[in-house]
């Protein structure tokens, strides 16, 4: 068996490849990005022709994966937690259609919001969509579980949701890999159209079948090799844990845990195992990363006083877990020796020196000084940092694409100037439809598509619309008169400010595209060029 030092994300990717994957479909999003990147760079994936090109958004990714599954092949869909909101429609309905080839939907949650706008826990989606959910605790388990998840998906004819969190995704450990990867599935025509055509008549039948299947899924979770009940001698307490929470519990007991432990890694929640722990132990502590998903089911509305966790404050309700919180919850002393140093100041992230977004904000701020109460609707990307000093340039950032539609709503309410600022990749992800709304009504907004030719914040992945933005805007019905392209550089400031001013003063929808390559990818490209020249 080969040993490799892998990030959790990489272990997931390799596990999927070794399970006979035929395609990965994803939009970049921290902390899930490295899964697809690993497959893009993997030799076996190349040899086998595994699809790995980025999708335009999570919805197109999920639907493409369903298409691959329909033809009998195995597909992986990867996203960050909020991406699951974007593809909620195909995800939830894939629970109704079921699958032909195995489908695993890998969602990486980001508790503590290291790089996200909320802390939503994807396990709720699994329960809600009646889709079985897997949750690995470590890199080896993530690798092993991927093969099981694909097999299980094909066995029960349902997609499997695999949920990880930031620490699992972005932590490295040694993983032992299989010697012989499984072959890919052959294309087949076994998909039954009546299952996939969700007309009410068909969907009602499928709904009954999938609902009836839930009891079996729960029984499978009871028997799952990933759901482990460990005996303990001290039954004053039982510990119910899942995912990364299990690691923190075990860290507290280097010589073995005296309490019975139930580790959950496969859902629906196996009630039989939970009851056993509850019956055997006087009190139960629930340690799970994310929202109190298991705890809510166990406590119920009876608010059992013997159950401890996030609802009673034994563990913090928000943020990610860590070994110190779990130590405290288990009644152990903290080992801290040194107090925090009072002289240390925060060092927030900032836009790179030389970044084109900086010039865009400088120009925008310069012009907006001339107006009373201008409002700038921001979006998701590096340029969200424009909220911070020195720019303090945006007034909102909600979800992918909301800049344009919120600006439109504000303009509908009578606001002027209403400016939207959105990145190139975010625009193709979810901004185009909103721009069509605006153009159809000639809404009085100015849209800035700050094009750095890449998906910058996640590390520089290809952006779906590169070289197509003018054509897209024209195609949506924007007139050339109000479609302007500029190069965001300090020397072009007079031109840029004049264009912004003119387009704000124009009573209708206009689009300005400042275009200059991201500093990160530019440096990478220059390095590659230098290396190539060195070889010549």
């Amino acid at each position: 068996m080969e040993k490799k030092l892998l990030l959790g994300d990489e272990a997931i990717a390799l596990g999927a490849l070794h399970a006979g994957l035929s395609g990965v479909y994803a939009y970049p999003g921290t902390p899930s990005t490295e899964i697809t990147e690993f497959i893009q760079g993997n030799a076996l994936a190349k040899e086998r022709g595994v699809h790995s090109r980025w999708s335009t958004n999570e919805k197109t990714a999920m639907e493409a994966a369903l298409g691959m599954s329909f033809m009998g092949k195995r597909a992986l869909v990867c996203m960050k937690h909020v991406g699951l909101n974007v593809c909620a429609d195909p995800f939830v309905n894939s629970g109704m259609t079921g699958v032909n080839g195995g489908v695993v939907v890998l969602v990486a949650d980001d508790p503590s919001m290291h790089s996200s706008q909320d802390e939503q826990d994807s396990r709720f989606y699994g329960k809600f969509a009646l889709i079985p959910t897997f949750e690995p605790s470590n890199q080896q388990e993530a690798y092993d579980m991927m093969a099981q998840a694909f097999d299980y998906s094909e066995k029960v004819c349902l997609p499997v949701l695999m949920r990880v969190t930031t620490r699992m995704a972005h932590s490295r450990a040694v993983v032992q890999c299989v010697d012989v990867p499984r072959q890919q599935n052959e294309l087949n025509y076994n998909a039954i159209a009546a299952n996939w055509v969700l007309l009410p008549a068909n969907a009602k039948k499928r709904n009954d079948i999938v609902t009836a299947q839930q009891a079996q899924l729960e029984q499978d979770a009871v028997n799952s090799p990933f759901n482990i009940y460990k005996e303990g001698t001290d039954k004053k307490l039982g510990v119910l844990c899942s995912g990364i929470g299990y690691n923190y519990v075990m860290e507290c007991f280097p010589n073995g845990c005296p309490y019975p432990i139930l580790k959950i890694s496969q859902y629906p929640l196996p009630k039989q195992l939970v009851r056993r722990l509850m019956d055997e132990c006087e009190q139960v502590l629930i340690v799970e990363e994310g929202q109190p998903f298991i705890e809510d089911q166990v406590r119920g509305i009876y608010d059992l006083k013997t159950v401890h966790g996030k609802f009673d404050g034994t563990l913090p309700r928000t943020g990610e877990l860590n070994p110190d919180f779990v130590k405290k919850a288990l009644g152990m002393e903290m080992d801290q020796c040194f107090d925090p140093c009072a002289d240390v100041v925060p060092r927030p992230p900032a836009l790179c020196q030389g970044c084109g977004h900086r010039d865009v904000y400088a120009a925008l701020n310069e012009v907006l000084k001339e107006y009373d109460n201008p409002r700038v609707f921001g979006d998701i990307g590096c340029y969200t940092l424009g909220f911070l000093p020195p720019f303090r340039a945006i007034h909102s950032c909600v979800d992918m694409g909301a800049s344009i539609t919120m600006a439109k709503g504000a303009a509908d309410a009578g606001q002027w100037p209403a400016v939207a600022i959105i990145g190139d990749s975010t625009f193709t992800h979810s901004g185009m439809t909103g721009l069509l709304d605006a153009i159809n009504e000639n809404a009085n907004i100015t849209v800035i598509i700050s094009d750095n030719l890449t998906t910058g914040m996640t590390g520089g992945q290809d952006s779906a619309g590169t070289n197509k933005f003018e054509a897209i805007c024209r195609g949506l019905g924007l007139s050339d008169e109000h479609l302007k392209v500029v190069v965001p550089l300090p020397k072009n400031m007079p031109e840029i400010t004049q264009i912004i001013r003119d387009e704000i003063n124009y009573k209708g929808t206009s689009v300005i595209i400042p275009r200059r390559e991201c500093m990160q990818t530019l440096q990478r490209h220059l390095k590659q060029k230098k290396a190539q020249e060195g070889k010549k």
Partner: protein, 190 residues
């Protein structure tokens, strides 16, 4: 054997390559490894850290508990102080002496130095200058690794071997520069 390490600095300073070398050396020794990294938005000039744990026994947690770090290796002096609550009582701080000032309210260096002076086990090296003076300007981070070798509990030649494996595909010149940087760090620490 068990060593818990916090690697820290500012996004882009090269802490992950130090982690890669240590990880490579540890894996070759058949040690257990867990290394939690920071990716994403905070890499843009913000403070970054990585928890690196190596042990001869299996490791449960990806994160180090407060008071548990045997070593803090920092590419930046104020960043070294940020993680003090994680430092073990007899733990070591091995840090670059050169501040990275990309914020308007960076404290006076006298204040930072006085804070470091109050701690029992601190090694401070002007790695940037040393790297420039010795013709290895891109290997300042490996000088720091050389200075941390003893505290890490990994034999010197094993770090050398790891450098050869990690940088091998970049050519002999890069390997030699990093081997030299490692030696500079070892000397500076004495």
């Amino acid at each position: 054997m068990k060593t818990d390490i916090i690697l820290c600095g500012v996004g882009g300073q090269g802490i992950l390559s130090i982690a890669t070398i240590i990880g490579e050396a540890a894996m070759n020794e058949n040690l257990y490894i867990k290394q939690a990294e920071v990716h994403g938005m905070s890499q843009r000039g913000g403070d970054v850290q990585s928890n690196l744990r190596i042990s001869s026994d299996p490791i449960a947690s990806d994160l180090i508990a407060k008071g548990g770090a045997d070593v803090i290796i920092s590419m930046e002096p104020m960043e070294a102080l940020r993680y003090l609550p994680f430092l073990a009582k007899d733990g070591w701080i091995i840090t670059s002496a050169t501040p990275f000032v990309n914020i308007p309210n960076y404290p006076d260096m006298d204040v930072i130095n006085a804070d470091l002076d109050r701690l029992p086990n601190v090694i401070r090296i002007d790695i940037e200058q040393m790297a420039k003076d010795n013709g290895v300007p891109r290997s300042a981070n490996v000088i720091l690794l050389g200075a941390a070798q003893k505290a890490l509990g990994i034999e010197y030649h094993k770090l050398e071997d790891a450098i050869r494996r990690v940088f091998g595909r970049k050519g002999e010149a890069v390997v030699e520069a990093n081997i030299k940087a490692l030696a500079l760090g070892r000397e500076a620490q004495k």
